[in-house]
Subunit: 126 residues, 2 copies
DNA sequence: GGAAGAACGCACGTTTTTGTAAGTATAATG
DNA sequence: CATTATACTTACAAAAACGTGCGTTCTTCC
């Protein structure tokens, strides 16, 4: 199979994970998480399992296309879990995985700080 | 002065700062901070005052144009301070402001977690 | 004395991202 | 029986982001 690299090298990469390095896989995860809707999805899901349409309503401004795409990326990264009930008017639930929840907490740290300190920064918004 | 709104309304907005709301100014700050290079710049500056070229070398993959643009946005948001010495081969220093440092710490929380937990997520990278 | 380095601004073209509109199957609602 | 709601997908197109190369203005280092 192509694309596979030695376990040792893999270990090296993971041990030295550095977002400053362009080729480090952590960069991609970071980009997914900090994508325009990534953080908001994570944040919304901290409120518990929710279905697609609920997320859409909760996150102001997302289009269905973007929400679906974002959810797929986060799912591929192992941050959110998707459970589709096999019923005919579709019913799909999204939940944070264990790692997803941990990450989401960090996200709250960031967004929370911003919300709380907006007054100190708004000169730009004025 | 145009563009000014009542102090009460301003207060309301700031008190209710909510990234989930599309029109909330916190959304813009969030977007600047989580922009492709925003977090990396903040991270790099946690290492102390640095000049443009040093930042460029440190952040893998940034182009001069993007670095300049990102720095300007963060400066406008009051997160980084720019000090240009008036000498002829240009010399400019960038430093985090007090709020900038606080925010940067939150950023470290996020990126640090990602770097440390990459092994738990990499299935996507494999 | 030619080359490199400093910190960008600018024009240009490409790449990526994002939004819009439309379509799908079917069950429940009025 | 027409509508509405669900969770998307796909095609198309506009918008935003991005990178590259060039120019600037001097000084320092081969």
């Amino acid at each position: 199979m192509m694309g596979s690299i030695g376990a040792e090298m893999q270990d090296e990469i993971l041990r030295k994970a550095d977002v400053m390095a362009e080729a480090c896989p952590s960069r991609q995860i970071l980009n997914h998480v900090t994508s325009r809707w990534g953080m908001l999805v994570l944040l919304a899901l901290l409120g518990g399992t929710q279905r697609f349409s609920a997320l859409k309503r909760r996150i102001g401004g997302v289009s269905e296309r973007m929400l679906a795409q974002t959810l797929q990326l986060l799912e591929a990264d192992g941050l959110v879990h998707r459970h589709a009930h096999d019923v005919v008017p579709p019913h799909v639930d999204y939940t944070l995985t264990a790692p997803g929840r941990e990450l989401a907490e960090k996200v709250v740290g960031l967004t929370g700080w911003i919300e709380a300190n907006l007054p100190r920064l708004t000169p730009a918004a004025a």
